[in-house]
């Protein structure tokens, strides 16, 4: 399992639902990196992740984890991956001790020592039932379980949503530690882009079932910008030069995807750096082109 370049490779993933289509989604997560998978609610993040994990069956497309087809090598792959969801997927009557016993007998590489180490680090009670856990405790427990069997890939679906900034930071630190091993990779879906800005190496942006952007985070952030113009100057800008524009009574803010070209073409215009949040908002409004 050591001769693969991408931890995840998705090509032409398509899934039709009534009223929604995941349309020809393709991207890859390089080995040893963390990819942020962003998009608004209902954009197709969970459908993509669920297809990858085998929770739903895609209509077409090629899905590979560790360079191997996910359907043909399902069990082998699942031994080396961990999934973390936005809600605790364990029964509320159980406790951490029971969970350890259960997962020890499911994962051949499960380490009780690692699991109890994380419980201690997160200050999670061993015998308290999960129904008495807070949201943050439940998420920490999921992460402890996910990291205790030597998984080479963590797939997280909105795992940090609903957590307070302190807990989120604590969890992000754990992920950075996990990535110290260059064989480990993370795919993290979230609509809290500030988390991803902190830790992601690359970003994939999905909207209405289509991938709009995928690449290294720094490249995306450096190529995008917000050009601030007066209303009269805005009228003179070619429509194809910007993604969408937020127009107010005082002026216009345009999301540009080729900052260098715009700087040359519109010399003198103020171009501010864009955040992932800005990029998401402007791309979501790309069809309207102009919004307020």
């Amino acid at each position: 399992m050591s001769d693969y370049e991408n931890a995840i490779e998705i090509k032409g993933l398509t899934k039709h639902f009534d009223g929604f289509t995941l349309d020809n989604v393709s991207f890859s997560v390089p080995r040893g990196s963390i990819m942020g998978f962003i998009g608004q609610n209902g954009a197709g993040k969970s459908t993509t992740i669920n297809s990858l994990l085998g929770i739903i069956r895609p209509d077409s497309g090629e899905l590979k984890i560790f360079g191997k087809d996910t359907r043909a090598n399902e069990l082998e792959i699942k031994r080396d991956i961990s999934a973390v969801f936005d809600e605790l997927p364990f029964h509320e009557q159980l406790n951490a001790k029971m969970l350890d016993k259960m997962l020890r007998n499911i994962f051949p590489t499960w380490s009780s020592e690692t699991f109890y180490g994380y419980l201690e680090r997160f200050q999670l009670p061993v015998k308290k039932k999960f129904k008495d856990f807070s949201k943050g405790m439940k998420m920490k427990l999921q992460i402890a379980a996910a990291l205790s069997h030597g998984a080479k890939l963590l797939i997280m679906d909105e795992a940090t949503t609903g957590l307070d900034p302190v807990v989120r930071n604590e969890i992000l630190d754990i992920f950075l530690e996990y990535l110290q091993d260059e064989n480990n990779s993370i795919l993290m879906s979230s609509h809290i882009t500030s988390d991803l800005e902190k830790i992601a190496d690359s970003v994939t942006f999905i909207d209405k079932g289509k991938i709009l952007l995928s690449g290294y985070k720094d490249d995306i952030l450096s190529s995008h910008g917000i050009m601030k113009l007066s209303k009269s100057d805005y009228e003179a800008v070619a429509k194809e030069d910007f993604v969408s524009a937020r127009v107010t009574d005082y002026g216009a803010e345009l999301m540009i995807s080729d900052r260098a070209a715009c700087e040359r073409k519109y010399s003198g215009a103020v171009i501010d750096p864009a955040t992932l949040d800005d990029i998401m908002v402007y791309y979501v409004n790309r069809e309207k082109k102009e919004w307020s």
Binding site: F17, L53, G54, I55, I56, R57, L75, E76, K78, R79, I81, S82, A83, F85, E87, L88, P89, F90, H91, E92, Q93, L94, M98, K101, M102, L103, R104, N105, I106, F107, P108, I155
Partner: protein, 259 residues
């Protein structure tokens, strides 16, 4: 798979304990009836009434107690797996659908064995308490109750796996059972009428109770004789076949993904 069996066991622990405690309560009740017959108010009844009370309590103890024990010990957590999203999570674990379903079957088979032994002990106790002659055939009857309960319970679980909705699955199972019951009742009604006419009575006559007793005796003896002639192995084949079918159907239903 051991991990999945442990999970099933922990989650059903409460239900199993309740079943066992109920059994103990009923057992105490049976002992109290016997004590009352010996030293209490029931001892003042005439001999026939005392015999009837002892027979009734012993029969309930021999057949109803095992039924209660078996019913409370066969469990499946598919509904709660769905509620807490464990089913979704299980798709990400290195386990197959066959292992998930088999874990339920293995645990319930262990329960079948344990409850059968307990029910046999219970039968021995009933013989001791109510001075009945020990008949080894009863051990087979008790085991048969266990097998039928096991089969029916796992037939219901197929619907749980298929519909992933406890209420809907139980509703459909009840509808199937009701249809079978009324089908059988209609069949018995037709046979009863033929039997009554064969005995020289008209349907509008006041039929003596002995005629009806004779009907049921003949029916039961007919089944037993048929099985003796054709082999009890047919029953075993039927039960094993049904359980295998339910097991396969459950696996197939679990492989279907929610979309």
């Amino acid at each position: 798979m051991k991990g999945l069996i442990l999970k099933e066991l922990w989650l059903s622990k409460k239900l199993r304990i309740i079943g066992f405690v109920l059994y103990l309560l009923f057992l105490i009740f049976a002992v109290l009836v016997k004590l009352s017959l010996l030293y209490g108010n029931m001892g003042h009844l005439n001999a026939g009434a005392q015999k009837n009370a002892a027979d009734l309590t012993a029969t309930v103890m021999i057949f109803a107690f095992p039924l209660m024990l078996y019913s409370s010990q066969f469990t499946c957590q598919i509904a709660s797996d769905g509620k807490c999203r464990f089913r979704t999570y299980s798709y990400t674990l290195p386990v197959t659908e066959r292992q998930i379903v088999s874990s339920v079957y293995i645990l319930n088979l262990i329960s079948l064995g344990a409850m059968t032994v307990l029910s046999w002990l219970n039968y021995s106790l009933a013989c001791l308490i109510f001075d009945r002659k020990f008949d080894a055939m009863y051990l087979i009857y008790i085991f048969a109750i266990g097998c039928v309960t096991f089969t029916l319970a796992h037939g219901r679980y197929v619907l749980h796996y298929r519909f992933r909705n406890e209420k809907k699955a139980n509703g459909i199972f009840s509808a199937i059972c009701t249809a079978i019951y009324f089908g059988a009742a209609f069949g018995m009604f037709s046979r009863t009428n033929s039997y009554i006419e064969d005995q020289g009575y008209s349907l509008s006559d006041d039929i003596p109770e002995s005629v009806m007793d004779g009907f049921w005796k003949d029916e039961l003896l007919g089944v037993v004789k048929w099985l003796d002639k054709n082999g009890w192995w047919l029953v075993i084949v039927l039960i094993v076949g049904l359980c295998t079918l339910f097991w396969q159907l459950s696996i197939k239903a679990l492989r279907r993904r929610d979309n």
